[in-house]
Symmetry: C2
Subunit: 146 residues, 2 copies
Amino acid sequence: MRFSLSSETIFHVIESTIKEYRKFAQRNISEKIKDITIDQGMVLLFLNKYPKLTQKEIAKLVFKDNASMTRMINTMVRKKYLKRSMNSEDRRRYKIEITDRGNEILKTLPHIIHSNRKSSLQGITKNERNQLEIILGKIIANCTQT
Amino acid sequence: MRFSLSSETIFHVIESTIKEYRKFAQRNISEKIKDITIDQGMVLLFLNKYPKLTQKEIAKLVFKDNASMTRMINTMVRKKYLKRSMNSEDRRRYKIEITDRGNEILKTLPHIIHSNRKSSLQGITKNERNQLEIILGKIIANCTQT
DNA sequence: TTTATATAATTGATATATCAATTATTTTTA
DNA sequence: TAAAAATAATTGATATATCAATTATATAAA
């Protein structure tokens, strides 16, 4: 039984792709690291590379809104991956620091993520990746302009 | 400031696309119809086309899990878009029926969705759409096999 | 300098996501 | 047929998504 509902297929496929990738990636991460989600992992990676990021900036990088980010960082602080401390230069912000426990995770996580990406992109040429970026870029532009 | 974190760009772009499309589509829907989300709308569309769907089947079509679907249908029943009734052929299931209020929405929703898709795919050729499906299909296959 | 505006983060309310456990029913198998 | 296995849906717990309102601080304008 086919459920073709007009031209939706494209968005269906796009959504399907990201969901399957996430499931796949989360599965591989959970095998090696307990108690961390992909998104929490991404927060650690970004903070590690750019330690001065504000919550707002992190939120944007991982596609969350500010309210979600507040709560996500709350749980990451509770789980001892992060520490919030004062930022005397701008007291509206916090300094978000990675704890030892967070750094432990950073020892293995990048490798896992790299391997996830590699295996999920297997058989896809550089040219195809470019194509993909170009086409999706057009969709994004169509959705965001005006 | 560029935040290039290894080869993640592809997945970043894919995720970005689907999120921007969703925002765009939701914005356009909300302009015309109050108090309905894209996903709730999709549930109505699928049920309209295939009235005998079970919750589980609907869930799969709109990328939710069963628990989410139970709750989503709860709220749609509470908001009077749907009605749950007994299914005497298999008492583990429900019959999910669209109410008058739900049918009202179906008068305008398909047109809005169609126009959303059309404008977000503007400038993208049939060939590019095929390309997209093929490449994303490979990623899905890579993530789901084994 | 005071006032107005902008910004970063939080909070409340409600919905959805996800996992694991549970209930009710149906189907399979011994 | 009785017991075991499978299926559809629900529930509980916890996290995240989203919107609107709020707090605290910083910056711009009068």
